[in-house]
Symmetry: none
Subunit: 213 residues, 2 copies
């Protein structure tokens, strides 16, 4: 169910989610037998929590207040940074940022599970497959296929169809090819590290080229 968050936020765990529930940040429905059942809205809520926690360092207490405000229809108040102090001669300090943690156990989904998880029509999936965006490995799919299918579906709502996305596939293929070329076929650890770097590069390049808001 929730490995889809895991592949957007490397360090989310079941216990973390349960903890967040205990803190009152999400309130998933329950089955008759007590199992948690997360709706799309719950997942989105968690995505929000994890994002602001990671990117804005907000304490959960504050995030909770914001969520409360949002639920009541308000927008969370965002405090702007104050004026900077005048500078001084100083020593260095390097920022670090990673985020490509391999999810421990790779998900294996049947076609049916994938369709359900991504909430797409079978024809749509077939289309994705004919364009090479999703590929089965034997008769199962990896967790990333969910993300691909979901995102492709959202893009389709904007009129961007799978066939328009072929370039993404070839770009990704080339990217991985490049990585494997330097690491050799099987240097674990390094591969992920390089992938994190190239993905970061890609993202920065896209942002840089976007028309300024």
């Amino acid at each position: 169910m929730l490995q889809l968050l895991q592949d957007e936020f490397a360090d989310v765990t079941i216990s973390k989610i349960r903890f967040l529930e205990a803190e009152g940040l999400v309130t998933p429905a329950r089955t008759a037998s007590g199992y948690r059942k997360f709706s799309a809205a719950d997942v989105e809520r968690l995505r929000y929590v994890l994002t602001v926690q990671r990117d804005q360092y907000l304490p959960l207490k504050v995030i909770k207040e914001h969520l409360g405000a949002i639920d009541r229809g308000l927008r969370p108040a965002a405090a702007g940074p104050p004026v900077a102090p005048s500078s001084l001669p100083q020593t260095p300090g390097q920022p670090v940022a990673e985020d490509f943690g391999a999810s421990g156990t790779e998900l294996r989904l049947t076609r049916t599970e994938l369709l359900a998880a991504a909430d797409v029509q079978p024809e749509f999936l077939r289309e994705l497959e004919t364009h090479g965006l999703v590929v089965a490995n034997g008769n199962h799919y990896g967790g990333d296929a969910i993300v691909v299918a979901q995102v492709a579906a959202e893009l389709a709502a904007y009129g961007i169809e799978p066939r328009h996305l072929r370039a993404f596939r070839t770009a990704a293929d080339r990217e991985v090819g490049l990585i494997e070329q330097v690491t050799g076929p099987r240097r674990t650890g390094q591969t992920e590290e390089l992938a994190a770097l190239t993905v970061r590069l890609h993202t920065a390049l896209v942002r840089a080229r976007l028309p300024q808001a």
Copy 2:
């Protein structure tokens, strides 16, 4: 000496200030006998620290990085708040747009600032520019250029040089082209949302194609 901070921030104490010094956030001068001597700049620096700590909940580690950035002549990168989750028990709609928080005020760096921020040699930057990975806008660069340069430098350590990265540039160009094609040249908001989607797609595709750990 420093009760003047105390009447702006009720809970500042001597021990707190000493603690902040131990953490490297301020470095007051000392008298011959070892007493701290705070300059006006030190006080301002402390004011900044206390303010962002109180109002933006930033951890000291991050504040320290920001101060470092300020010292190097940059403005602190303020992560804008992401889009709120569409709160409500609802049908599958997932208009997600996260993680692409446009930095509220776009950074403008001179060439020198960029070199310092990314910690790269001038020749390396020139190389990036000849391959179109970093482009100046007039005589300044955007914040993404820092990321591009840093990442490219890290990749160079693996033997991947700027000229190997041209494909990334063209991929990014095409990606942005696609986005602009559907949003029209100037539909703000949507552009960022779509960019977030395509970047997510890209990431998922790369992961999916990575050899399994």
